[in-house]
Every structure is written in structure tokens, then in C-alpha cells.
Subunit: 346 residues, 2 copies
Amino acid sequence: SRSINLAVIPGDGIGQEVVAQGLKVLSAVLPQDVKLETTEFDFGARRYHATGETLTDADLDALKRHDAILLGAIGDPSVPSGVLERGFLLKLRFAFDHHVNLRPSKLLPGVATPLAGQPEIDFVVVREGTEGPYTGNGGTIRKGTPHEVATEVSVNTAFGVERVVRDAFARAQARPRKKLTLVHKNNVLTFAGHLWTNIFNKVAEEFPEVTIDYIHVDAATIYLVTDPGRFDVIVTDNLFGDIITDLAAAVSGGIGVAASGNINPSGEFPSMFEPVHGSAPDIAGQGKADPSATVLSVALLLRHLGYETEAARIEEAVSADLAERVGQPARTTDEIGDALAVRVAG
Amino acid sequence: SRSINLAVIPGDGIGQEVVAQGLKVLSAVLPQDVKLETTEFDFGARRYHATGETLTDADLDALKRHDAILLGAIGDPSVPSGVLERGFLLKLRFAFDHHVNLRPSKLLPGVATPLAGQPEIDFVVVREGTEGPYTGNGGTIRKGTPHEVATEVSVNTAFGVERVVRDAFARAQARPRKKLTLVHKNNVLTFAGHLWTNIFNKVAEEFPEVTIDYIHVDAATIYLVTDPGRFDVIVTDNLFGDIITDLAAAVSGGIGVAASGNINPSGEFPSMFEPVHGSAPDIAGQGKADPSATVLSVALLLRHLGYETEAARIEEAVSADLAERVGQPARTTDEIGDALAVRVAG
Ligand SMILES: CC(C)[C@H](C(=O)O)[C@@H](O)C(=O)O
Ligand SMILES: CC(C)[C@H](C(=O)O)[C@@H](O)C(=O)O
């Protein structure tokens, strides 16, 4: 009999509320013969305040013994900026070599967008997750003086770029439009830019059916609001991916519906799935958070573990639920979770 | 009697066409007693192909002897990516210490925006122009091998950050809403992020009337499409500024109307004014380019040189012209320039 051994990290703010709905829908969608085991971890602001710890070696060992990780949100204004981001979120992505950060953007029927004319939007961003300006390389000298110098080093390796570019080509190849766009800033960041561009063009030779395209990151933000339909699959570095996926989420229904996967394709470490939104402390505990992004992250998790039918069932349920919301009074986090659980079970 | 000694760099592609209109409007708006002298420089792709040169020390000496520089656009697909950007545009910004890169965004009446509901947009981005990831620091080892490593180093100094932050506070102080937003990514780029944040908070004490605000760059792209009205003045680093000003231009009427100034506030070197758009080789020579962005850059140039009345006259003319375009057949680059020249003279 099959089983899923899931690590659950509700985290801070609305993380608790939305993860509860994700688990509700997950239980409802799984076939009877699949045994779901969950272990909850208390990472986040409370644990940091209580113990000073963000993520220890023992924590990583414990997390490693799971098939996948579901995360709500980590972050709270009571913790200095950077402590939980670098000490937990990024530490985990790096420790588990989550080099494919997958962020689909699809404007579902009936969903509001800030763009005029309800354009068609259906693309996936493959963001590199373990290199670039996110490595923590750099430093500060003469801190706090008028002569302070602070550096940030973007580190890019052929190994790291090639594996994520190859993953993105394979994803483009599997989609009907078969189009892959590299987003970078190779006219200014020429060292990293040439590495990315050369590897992109080299790997392209192995995928003759995939149409390729290059756009500077600044121009990409223009296309995301004037012609988002031009994108099918985008591959980009860690920082550019961070920036354009927030914009992509905003134009395709908002961060209330943006899901993501931090994927270790080899399976050596468990992959982690999380909504793109943060902990939103301003609305935490009020039942106002939209759990759709977390539920869609559960769909990505199921697809990653080979449960394609169940993943698709969840995506259809969220799409139908969003379409039905139009003109209706707002529902609570829990009510939306219940409605989705009913849909996926039915 | 007064005089303006202007260096003119039409450059590549549509640069020639739009600069001609900028000069036309400049001549029309200047009072009789102001003597306008212009010297044209042939920088860009043709000169690079003919001589291999992008910008020599002698060129810099010649440019330095002017009150200001008007630039059309530099860049052509026949030149490898990065050669003219690093060898001309960035070289000039660094050589002339253009540390305040000023980019206003105002959605003028009647102008189309990709955003639904015609929001009010009126803010200015103060982009740092001489530091950050634009310094060209970094390098490549084992180039072209599977073990290549390419780095890009973002360099941030207290000196460089403080002067641009101070400039942005002064601009915010002079505007009715008196609000300044720092855009960075201080939760991930903690070395540079803390430098920026600490200096921002320190300088804020000298400007008690200015309301301050901090937003991560990824979230800033969301607000630019969902609530652009929240911004008044933004200060940010070189790369984040590059990215968000293209998005800002897109939502506030497109890069056809986005002007910029590369300013050396001390006056030690001439400042340079240029449209945000590039050389657009696909439409070059066809009279299709909108010269408004260049004409608005001329307004920024005049304001910088102390001709406030004339700057405002140009801005009013462009605004009126754009409002009149609605529903009218498209005009040529030249026709728009003529119409604007008539308006500012009248
Ligand atoms: C919270 C932060 C570390 C994170 C990132 O920058 O990657 C977030 O913005 C995201 O996109 O997942
Ligand atoms: C062409 C390029 C070097 C430049 C930049 O990145 O600054 C451009 O995008 C701009 O915004 O002026």
C-alpha cells in the first residue's frame, strides 16, 4: 500500500490557518489506499523567540526523513529583517538543494486582475533556487561609519545554471506551446549574463522543438503587464525570479492564489511546497486569508510525488471555486477550505 | 546674456529621430535672449563598427565642456550585448558621477495604461546611478568549461548611499505629499540591505516632515500594478531602480513617454538626459517613434539648468498633446515634434 510521509510547517501569521485548509483538502483528495502521515514542526518566530533557534542540524535531519514538506509562511515583524529569511527559509532551500523553484502563473476564469481587458495568462517561471545573489556571499567593512562598504556577491556556476536550464527546457518541451524565455540582464551583468546565455544556447541544441527567446529583466516587467500571453516557460536567476514572480502573481489573480514548489529533482532531499505570499500578520487569526495558494501548492506537491490525477482534481476544484466567488459575499478561510474539500472528494 | 552649451548624442535606431524633435522643441521654448549652442557627437554602433571605439578619454574631455548632454538611444543588435551598454552608457554615467538617476512617472490624462480603472499615478524614482551591481566588479573563472564560475559584486558605500538618499529626501520634502519609500531586499541581501536601511533611517531624522516607508523590491512590483498611487518618491539601488522604472513606465503610459535624467548634483560634470526607451531598431527610420519621452527629458534638462518656467511649459504641452491624441489617427515622429514646438512657442 502507498503512503505519504509529510512534514508540515505552519509557521507564522496566516500560515497556521492556510496550512490547515491545505491538509483538509489533501486528506479529502487522496484515495483510501494511500496512508497520509503528517509531522508538524514549530519553526518560525515563536520558536526563535523562545530558543534563539531558526533551523538546527537536528531539525534538518528530522525533516529529511519525509517525502515532502508543506510550508505555510515564515516571518514576523517582531524578528529583525533577515533572521528568519536567511536563518530558516533560505537555509532550508540551500540545505536541501532546492534548485528548481517552480512558480506557475495562470489567470483562472472569473479571477480579478489589475490588468485591463482580462488577458490570457498561463506560464511557469523556473527560478534558480541555490545560487545568484542569494548565497549570502559578501560582507561589510567599517560598519556604521561614514566609510562603510557593503558587498553582495552573486555566485553563478555552470553546474548550477545548466541543471536548472535543462529542467526548464524539459518543462517547455512538455507543454503545448513549447516556448522558453531566458530572463536576465546580460548587457550589464556581463559575467553572469554570458554564463547564463551561453549555457541556455548550448542546451537549446538538445531541444530543437523548443522555441527560445531572451529578454532583459527590466523589459520582462513591461511584457508582464502589456503582453503576459507571450510567456510560456521562463527560466531565470534567483533574484530576478523572486522579483518577476511577485509581479506575475499580482497580474494573474494576486498572491492569494500563487503557489510554489522548491524542488530537488533528484529526490535526494524532500522538496518543499509553499504559497508565494508571506505571513500577513495584519490579517492573521481573523479567518480572512485565502487558502487557495496553499491548496494549489498541495497540488504541486502531489504532482511531484506522482499523484497527477489528484493534483489535477485540486486545480479544477480551486478554479471552479474561484469562478463561483464572483459577486458573492466573502467567505472565511475555513469555509473556502471546506468547499474545496467537498469538491475534490465528490 | 544667457547661453546653453549642449552636447547632443543622437545615437542609434530611433535615437536620431527623437532627438531631432527634442531639439526642435528646445529651440521653440527658449526665450530669445538665451543662446543655444549644440555640438553633435556620433557615439554608438556605427562609430564602434568603424573605429572599435565606444567612449575615449578625449571624448569625455570634449563632453565635459558642455552644460548638459541630451542623448537619444544607444544600442544595436549588430553589436554584442554589453559592449555599448558597459562601454558607453555606463562608462559615461560612472565617469561623470551621475549618481542621481531621476525617473518621474505620471499617468497623464487620456493616456492609455495596461491597468484597469485608470488609477492616479504621480511619483518619482530616485535610482542610485554609480554603485550596486552596476560597477562591473566580478569575473569569470574556467570560462566555457563545465566548472565555470561567474560572479557579480554589488558594491555599496555609505558615501554613495547617503548622498542619493539625502537627495531623495530633499525631493520628497519639496512635494505636496512628502512621502519617501525605500525599495530594497534587505531580508535577503542583508549586507547591502542593512547599509541602505540604516542610512535611510538616519537621514530621515533630518527630515521630520517626510513620511517614510520601506518595501521589498518584489512587493514593490505588486504595488506598482495594484496600488501605484501609494508612491510619492522612491529611492532605490541601481539594479532595483532599473527594473522598477521600466515597470513604472509601462503602467504610466509606456516607455514612449518615460523621461530620465542622469544627474551630477554638484555640477562638477554635465548631467545627461535621455528617454528610458532604447534604440528600437525594429521601427527605426520609419517616423513611428513617439518623441514625447525625449521631449520630456528636455524638460528635465531645462529644470536642471534652472529654466523652470520653460520646463513646465514643455510638460504642459506634452500633456495637452497626449490628451488630444485619443481617438485620432497616429501621427509621425516629426508631426508630433512640430505640434509640440507650436504649443510651447504659443
Ligand atoms: C521571504 C524571502 C526570503 C523569499 C525570497 O526572496 O525568495 C520570498 O520573497 C519568496 O519569493 O519566496
Ligand atoms: C541599457 C542599460 C545599460 C540601461 C540600464 O540598465 O541602466 C537601461 O536599461 C536603462 O534603464 O537606462
